[in-house]
Symmetry: C2
Subunit: 392 residues, 2 copies
């Protein structure tokens, strides 16, 4: 398989964006990625998106966005894996270039979800869960995560406030990210006093939705090497390659899992990714995980080998998830504070890892970051896609 390099990145601020249409938001991210890559065209464009049909009355996003960004004619389609759609689109782009079918490709994640046409966003998001066996009982997506968190507190003896460090870290990092939605710091008192949504999940456990798009421009690594006479730098910056890409699934319904407190698809895809990259968890310099809810951050750290089972919150409490800790997470704010435009999130994560590896992360730069991991989750653990990036 051909190795893949990420040549360009682009993103829009996560916000309530009433000024731009779906295609305009996607276009902004794609144009930035093209400019960043120093390219003007691509052979194909793969769109990560979950909710355009329900919320924007628009499907067929591949051709729509290809045309809008000046790539009329190019191969294009949409990839959907609920909140994991972004990483699934990147994975499709990788397979397209790795197979030799295309020489260059763009993966763009986009979601426009704050201005909807007659549908409740909560109802739309519930389509990530099992319609026949979960949602039919009135469970919303946050309610499902609340059940998991409740069980976690019961099983391992943690208190709700023990999760505060996750949200405090995310907000602290987002302050320095101009693309983040929530750029204000929070304290443990704020966390304790936050409005309850679905017990025990309160407002500061949950990530905000948002409108946004992020894009990546990918090429075969050897094409860049040839062009630069073996020099691995990209316009003077470190060139970033994809060291691993792996996807796995689990049941949609949490009640069907052997252990509702274990993200088996996170474990499986991470294990495959470590193997592909030839590394171990201790080699990872930062981890953009899928902290849609604080409980998911804990479960992800455990499943991927950074904390023992039931010990995720300890890592946060001890400061090991902070920029200078053992395994920095949510370095640009994470889902919690950068925001969670669902189908776009997986691409934002990769963009942020690239920023870190290039040394472009400013005040939240992880010192000497060489290897970064991103993990995108669709549903309450049903579809999980892990990527590892490193300096080429």
């Amino acid at each position: 398989m051909r190795e893949i390099a990420i040549l360009g990145i682009g993103q829009t601020p996560v916000s309530e964006n009433f000024e731009q249409s779906l295609r305009e938001i996607a276009g902004e991210a794609v144009f930035k990625a093209l400019e960043d890559a120093g390219r003007q065209t691509a052979d194909g464009i793969f769109v990560g998106n979950m909710l355009s049909g329900i919320l924007n009355k628009q499907e067929n996003l591949g051709a729509l966005i290809a045309d809008w960004v000046g790539l009329r004619g190019a191969e294009a389609f949409k990839v959907e894996a609920a909140c994991g759609s972004g990483a699934a689109a990147l994975r499709t782009a990788i397979m397209a270039v790795a197979s030799g079918e295309l020489e260059t490709a763009i993966a763009v994640g986009v979601e426009k979800m704050t201005e909807t046409k007659g549908v409740e966003t909560t109802e739309a998001l519930a389509t990530a869960a099992d319609a026949d066996y979960e949602v039919i009982h009135g469970l919303s997506f946050v309610a499902i995560n609340a059940l998991v968190m409740q069980r976690y507190l019961h099983e391992y003896g943690w208190k709700h406030t023990d999760f505060a460090a996750f949200s405090i870290n995310s907000h602290a990092n987002a302050i320095h990210n101009p693309y983040a939605r929530l750029r204000e710091p929070i304290t443990e008192i704020d966390y304790q006093r936050a409005r309850m949504i679905a017990e025990p999940i309160n407002l500061l456990d949950a990530s905000p939705i948002g409108d946004g798009a992020a894009a990546l421009y990918i090429v075969p690594l050897d094409s860049v090497r040839r062009a630069s006479n073996g020099n691995h730098r990209n316009n003077g910056r470190p060139l970033i390659k994809i060291a691993a890409s792996a996807a796995a699934t689990d049941t949609l319904a949490i009640h069907s899992r052997r252990d509702p407190l274990w993200l088996s698809a996170a474990e499986k895809s991470a294990r495959m990714a470590y193997q592909q990259a030839g590394i171990e968890p201790k080699d990872i310099d930062l981890f953009e995980l899928h902290d849609a809810f604080s409980i998911m951050a804990a479960l992800s750290l455990e499943a991927c080998g950074f904390a023992a089972r039931g010990q995720g919150p300890r890592l946060a409490q001890e400061g090991e998830i902070c920029i200078h800790g053992r395994i920095p997470i949510a370095t640009r704010g994470g889902l919690k504070a950068r925001g969670h435009p669902v189908g776009a999130t997986g691409i934002y994560q990769i963009v942020e890892v690239v920023q870190q590896l290039r040394g472009e992360a400013g005040a939240t730069q992880v010192p000497d970051a060489q290897i970064g991991m991103a993990q995108n989750i669709g549903g309450s653990g049903a579809t999980i896609i892990t990527h590892i990036l490193r300096i080429a």
Copy 2:
């Protein structure tokens, strides 16, 4: 790139299926494809589907169906390209195996659209068109095709009845296909008297929607060769390989195209496919085209080089599209009479080409079929994916 073989096929009858859920319909097709391939598992499953979010309140179909068919844990996600979703899912599966990421994969197309929850199917199908520039003016999908047909009649001087031969051929072939939705013959008189839907398109110009699923099991060709000591037969049947796979796009909105009567993405993807396979249109023994409306059959034949511009209907009138004609189309009924479960259609087409190349097409067998083409269209020509299959 590794060559790919289709080892197994499966399909369900296209129907109004109130007895089975979405996952059950998909599962039936997958189980048949597994049995046909003589396999019990697969590394990944790619789901072609357009409308599950809107009509079935269910996204995250990849993991849902993987779990249901006993592949819990396997890589899975959904691919969407409006009515071209099926072929896009196959193309994704091909790229996954061709890149070496997976060794075996299933592509399954599924749609459950006759039993919906509070949404009009016509409104849902309109999401294939441009929401901001077409649908906002009240255009439905059939209305868009009616505009194209009206223009075609005006531009080239044909009468509406000149299109009758397309629908008559599709219905004649569907009689012999146990999976077809409309298995009754129609006459030219029936066609002329059919109820008008959107002038000039009447009920017998239009394909019926339906519930259904079709599935394919694919592997690297060399893995089958090795297993059979170089013998290219598949359990005594001819082994079918994918000789070409190509995708192209055009604008969603017909008013943005240079020529609304020319399917440029059909032309481009077919040209790429001919080149990959090293053949010309005259080498194609049958062509499963996307006859969602009779006008689309004519336009497809022209764009793919089987008829001169504006001469598609002549091919039909002269009987050249029939089983013993120069270029048999809709050999198992086509969209018009087999039915059009939108996200599944592209896989049904491939299943039908495989049936023909294996010599399993019964009363509508194309004599000595060696090379077959399938072309799946998303929107009114926006996303077009062409596959060429041949005996290995």
